[in-house]
Symmetry: C2
Subunit: 550 residues, 2 copies
């Protein structure tokens, strides 16, 4: 039997486009002699569809999509993820289903059992967990069909009381199919492969895995669909960060199932920086595509953050679609402009210089009556940042560009940014990268030739909002700050544990306090492309008016 | 036996303050001869604690709080809500528990069974559902202790497969105690009382109900704790929108339980507008208190929205703590200033006038090279709004005020507001009130004397960002718009249903498209005080880059 794994990019709510892509893939697989083709989780409606799922109309469209796809499954079977109505008198309104389409109709439906409801996941908000376990007989094979999280309860202290495979294995399936929507993070690829390998080894059958690829606002899905043999070996990985399709021959022997693949692409050591770069490029690209925009605008400060975002935008959108604006003030050093000009020359993009001194002065004049007896401080710094924000939005609005935000995770964490100023933008590109990670990524990007001017990498970071300002005036060195923040945010360690890990108690108290007190700013931050296991945004839900560690 | 219901305001994460309040209430109740005192759900840590719950340190502090409270329960028992660690090898890390404290120790623990995970609720993110059902014997009584949602599965198509009371009733309890954190909405008080009455009638025993009171960022808890007799009659309601404590005598007869209360406050017809006013005042007041701020600033446009917010701020913070800024431009009508001045005179608050023409012109000069061949449009309108936003934030930052946002729900819905302009602010006060509701509330406020100048209520709404602009130029009449929006947002009706309800198909398509296309703006909106069953914010989770109805 020939099985085809089809790793496609879907657009949430765009049923016409998604359905058409699925049908085309079915027709191509049929032409190639495939017996069954597998698509990712909730393929018809896209993942995550979030509160679109509450609309009857939305669910009806998903069912219409399945009905029309089924008609194309006469000579080939297909497995397609789609939401479906729970017709029982009890429980939540929907199931997260995998449809098995065959002979032109719906031959079988498997619902998802384990519903992730942590981090960015809200599946228990919408779906009732499955309680029926039945394998699918197709041709000479018995298939254990599972959906994403269904395979993930394979740890020592499981968060779910049951594991679907423990039930399905009793019916002696020949192999596992898992359809997924597993978003990228720096640690996710390794963890995901370990989970799939553990399942193959535990149940002693191969696993066919199809993941979603594409970006949905803040979430990036990396793909990396694969086949794992029963000995735990990954015999083929599909592409990462792009669409891909691959077919495999499955042969049933007396003792076992053999999987044969032409030109296998074996699992290899991954380069994390390359993955991050690809993830961010995909994230920008699909955000623009899906919203129907082509052009980006951003402010270049002469610093490393905006330089990196500028480079990534060029890779995602083409350098002809990126417009860089330099907005020097009386506090800007000459190298800020020079370094930015060098960058735009390297990238060959359009740029303009719009000094902000006059408008900043106009604000100061308007506020003079109130400011006159006070020292120059944060309020005056914020005025400059907000003047720049207004100029950038003024150009974005006038010419139909999306403003890219250039805040990094370190500054978002401690509130070292101006709300409605440098925190403006439709998408936060690097808001899930600590400053130290940004340096590492820029060094990687520069590995073959200098794209980001070396002076940008070597000078001390500064917001340049008052004379001779340096980040280090008010923050500890980024190596210390970022390690501390990582313990608190990603590792979810409390103050005691962080102190035990070797950080100075007063510093721990100060930084945790800064993080918690600045939640009100992050509430209003743009969506942040997620790269870590705990990004700011919907995956981290913290009270603003709480009093914990603040 | 004497039972005391203690309806208190708690501050999320502020264990010292919450614990101290609980202990004081226990001591007072003991002095009054009470046998048992009942506090609301998750009283030690506040509700909702959201992702603070992931920190071991946070959970440890909650347990320390319980331990220290227990020491004060020697002559009196207490029921206190608090999170606790799940010590089983499977399941989520925590339970949402009610501690029964007696004889100076933890005598019993009841965990929550039904975990709401819809709208603003995320309880399944943190908690494992309870599966053990045991009543509590205390003095001569048997108590069925339940937690909030545990009583809410009493409908025809329940979303949970089981109801805890169906189990507990088998052990023949004498009455139900329910500790809750049930947030206010316009429809919630009636629905909540119906649920409590249905339980009393179904199980034929009295219900003692203690709800949380206070505001947690966007959520307002109204209190309204009460006692329901087994015949469904509410014999006493505690206060709404403020702390309250009340004791009741429970007498066991051969056939039934009698509840006796001195000076009963019977359930009465509520005034919804009065409730909304009180809810918003409480929301503002506690947002400031809990963040340690005293003073508010806001921009007065001469329109009804900012006038209402200004009035509410005065009621919440005192008129000496509210600073109104008038920022006319060349497009502002004279009545905008006159009406605003009349309002600040009525409210007796400080105000200043800061014209924006010069700074707006300075922006136009900076952008002239780019704007020169384009018509005056949305970009120029946004510039004015953002200039005002920068001025307000410049004063807020300089003098330690919180800027109050004055956007209404109608404009948030259709995107008729400027991000980083009039959408600025730390808290959206009326972002869950449609424009028509705002008129009704202002009329109510003016019922005894003219507080909001009548000209503000009678003139046509306008953003005044270009000559002779009116809201009605680009939007349908608010009566139509708001009714349509309510069907889509609160009632979650899809386009077909809304058209069936009598709205014009083209208008439905246009408005739904506007709502969905403006999700990117609402993502960056301030927290909105929740008044309806579906407010913008964490209770409504919609993709930005989706393609549904857009």
């Amino acid at each position: 039997m020939k099985i085809t794994l089809s790793q496609l990019s879907f657009h949430t709510g765009n049923f016409a486009e998604n359905t058409s892509k699925i049908i085309s893939a079915i027709q191509e697989a049929e032409l190639l002699g495939s017996d069954i083709i597998v698509f990712s989780e909730l393929a018809t409606c896209g993942y995550p569809a979030r509160d679109f799922l509450v609309f009857d109309d939305f669910i009806n469209q998903a069912l219409e999509s399945i009905t029309s796809i089924a008609k194309h499954c006469t000579k080939i079977a297909a497995i397609v993820g789609s939401p479906r109505v729970n017709n029982l008198s009890k429980g939540k309104a929907l199931f997260n289903a995998a449809y098995f389409l065959c002979n032109g109709e719906i031959a079988h439906i498997t619902d998802k059992t384990l519903l992730p409801n942590y981090d960015i996941f809200d599946e228990y908000r919408y779906f009732e967990p499955n309680k029926n376990f039945e394998i699918i007989a197709y041709k000479e094979f018995k298939i254990a069909l599972t959906i994403c999280e269904d395979l993930w309860n394979i740890v020592e202290n499981p968060i779910y009381p049951t594991s679907p495979m423990d039930e399905l294995i009793k019916q002696e399936p020949d192999f596992i199919i898992n359809i997924a929507a597993s978003p990228y993070s720096k640690t996710q690829i390794a963890e995901r492969q370990k989970v799939l390998q553990s399942n193959a080894l535990k149940y002693q059958i191969p696993v066919f895995y199809v993941n979603h690829i594409g970006a949905q606002t803040h979430l990036i899905f990396d793909g990396g669909s694969c086949v794992v043999e029963k000995n735990g070996a990954i015999i083929h990985e599909l592409a990462y960060f792009k669409e891909d399709t691959k077919s495999f021959e499955i042969i049933k022997n007396s003792e076992s199932i053999d999987v044969i693949v032409a030109n296998p692409s074996k699992s290899r050591e991954r380069n994390q920086l390359k993955d991050i770069e690809n993830a961010l490029i995909l994230g920008i690209k699909q955000y623009f595509q899906k919203l129907g925009f082509k052009q980006a605008i951003l402010g270049l400060s002469g610093g490393i953050d905006s330089a990196l975002v500028c480079y990534l935008a060029c890779k995602a959108l083409g350098n002809e679609n990126v417009w860089a604006i330099l907005m020097p003030s009386q506090f800007s050093s000459q190298h800020s402009v020079d370094d930015s000009v060098k960058l735009v020359q390297n990238l060959q993009i359009k740029h303009d210089i719009i000094p902000i001194e006059n408008t900043f002065q106009s604000f100061l004049n308007s506020l003079h009556e109130f400011y006159k007896d006070t020292p120059f401080g944060l309020a005056e710094e914020n005025l400059q940042s907000r003047t720049r924000g207004v100029i950038l939005m003024g150009l974005a609005n006038k010419f139909g560009h999306i403003l890219l935000n250039t805040s990094n995770k370190s500054e978002l964490a401690v509130g070292y940014g101006t709300l409605y100023g440098d925190m403006c933008g439709g998408l936060s590109v690097i808001g899930d990268l600590y400053k130290t990670e940004i340096y590492a990524l820029c060094e990687y990007i520069n590995k073959d030739k200098e794209i980001i001017p070396s002076n940008i990498l070597s000078k001390a970071p500064s917001a340049e909002l008052r004379p001779d300002q340096k980040d280090s005036d008010s923050l500890p060195p980024y190596e210390v700050l970022d390690a501390l923040l990582n313990n608190y945010i990603e590792e979810e360690m409390g103050p005691t544990q962080i102190i035990q890990a070797g950080f100075e108690p007063n510093l721990v108290q100060k930084i945790l306090r800064m993080v918690n007190m600045n939640e009100w700013k992050r509430w209003q931050a743009p969506p942040v492309l997620r790269l870590s296991k705990k990004a700011f945004g919907p995956g981290r839900r913290v009270p603003i008016s709480g009093k914990y560690l603040s």
